[in-house]
Amino acid sequence: MNPHHHLHESTLMSYAAGALPAPLSIVAGAHLEHCSQCRQRLREAEAIGAMLLEQTQPAANDARREQLREAMLMQLATETETDLPSAARPLLQERPGANPDHLPASLHPYFGSTLSGLRWRWMAPGVHCIRAEQMPSLIMLKIAPGKCLPMHSHGRSELTQILRGSYNDALGLFAPGDVADLDEEVEHQPVTAPGVPCICVSALDAPLVFSGWLARKIQRFVKL
């Protein structure tokens, strides 16, 4: 997987700052797992945060600082590595993307670990969805091949990571590994490619604004 559509620079900065709303950060994570280019830029965005940290001007509060310092020295004398749960995680058995049935690890808590294990619910003709538990604005969508989705724009931000299949819209072709990073100014009408269904995971920061009757019906039905 070699993505052609990447996270917007402002999204990377927001992620690095810990300011991206949770559902969006989960989809961003799903993209970052498969995109070394965005991981590289993320490191640069984190370096900006570190430099801002360097530049803070701490107020002098020497008495308190001295107390904390003493407390730290005490801890150094007593703590050993065993007091901290190990940071080591089991290494991945396979490279990300190696098994086509595997979902990105960021999505596992919400959708399980495999595509084949997903339990789709009918949403509209040609469209199935799964809403993440306890994360209502995070959804998985499966759109039938050759399907034209209703024209819609976005109330705030939407991040969509393509997992299988592909679609076309005014911004180009979106294939597995690509992320669509959209905001309120984009009104688009995705058309899925023929052949296989398009499966994508999508997070919203605010309600979608649909502009057609079918769309409004879908909206009422799924309360997007």
């Binding site: 620079e9 402002s10 990377l12 900065m13 927001s14 700052a17 810990g18 300011a19 709303p21 950060s25 989960i26 961003a28 994570g29 797992e33 498969h34 070394s36 590289q40 490191r43 640069e44 984190e46 370096a47 900006i48 945060g49 570190a50 430099m51 801002l52 940290l53 360097e54 530049q55 803070t56 001007q57 701490p58 107020a59 600082r65 001295e66 904390l68 310092r69 407390a71 730290m72 020295l73 150094l76 004398a77 703590e79 590595e81 007091d83 901290l84 940071a87 995680r89 290494l91 991945l92 990300p96 690890a105 960021s106 808590p109 705030r156 931000s157 905001d183 309120e184 100014e185 920061d205």
Partner: protein
């Protein structure tokens, strides 16, 4: 590799004597040598130099994110204790020490204060994937990157600087920034994008 008990005590005593006063300059320091001694020799003096530099800064950062004084102090202490315990995990070729600490502080805050369960899981997934990334930058190169970055932060246009600070120091989302400043969301995003491109440390010359 641990020093014996007697020399540990001696090290702690020396560390107490070392003044905790701030360095007058805000120039970034190259901590690679100190970290190496912390990791290999469990050198307490080196650790306390790092501690004295970062502890007050971490407190300012965490308070900015909305933590109370007490919580900010507790989290900052925990950050630095992690640095001590996991010093061997730090790889200077992967990035500056300040970036490593920044990440620890940010993650602790999101996990403990905002209690977003999803964040650490996503972090772990992205970090696992990042083990295949090859980044080798000498500490001198990184030091030069940092100096350039510092210069460019100071040169950001006022609006961009404000949005960058609202993102990093107040953890405000794009839509929160848009609402607070009465600015269209797309404008917030394009200002931040321009700021990012201007700050990118690897790009030589002005953009």
């Amino acid at each position: 590799m641990y020093p014996d008990a007697a020399s540990t005590l001696l090290t702690f005593d020396t560390a107490r004597i070392v003044s905790s006063s701030q360095q007058p300059s805000s120039e970034p320091t190259n901590w690679a040598g100190d970290m190496d001694r912390v990791a290999r020799l469990r050198d307490c003096d080196c650790f306390m130099r790092i501690y004295d530099h970062f502890m007050p800064r971490l407190c300012v950062y965490l308070r900015g994110l909305g933590a109370s004084d007490a919580v900010a102090e507790e989290l900052a202490q925990e950050c630095l204790l992690r640095l001590w315990l996991r010093a061997a995990d730090y790889d200077a070729a992967q990035g500056a020490l300040s970036t490593w600490l920044y990440r620890i502080a940010r993650n602790l805050h999101i996990d403990r204060v905002r209690r977003e369960r999803s964040w650490l899981q996503v972090q772990a997934a992205v970090e696992d994937a990042a083990t295949v990334d090859m980044i080798e930058r000498s500490s001198a190169e990184q030091f030069a990157d940092q100096a350039r970055l510092r210069q460019r932060i100071n040169e950001l246009p006022a609006v961009q600087a404000r949005l960058v600070r609202m993102s990093y120091f107040e953890a405000k989302s794009h839509s929160e920034i848009a609402e607070a400043l009465g600015m269209p969301l797309g404008t917030v995003k394009s200002h931040l994008r321009r700021a990012f491109l201007q700050l990118q440390s690897k790009v030589g010359g002005a953009l």
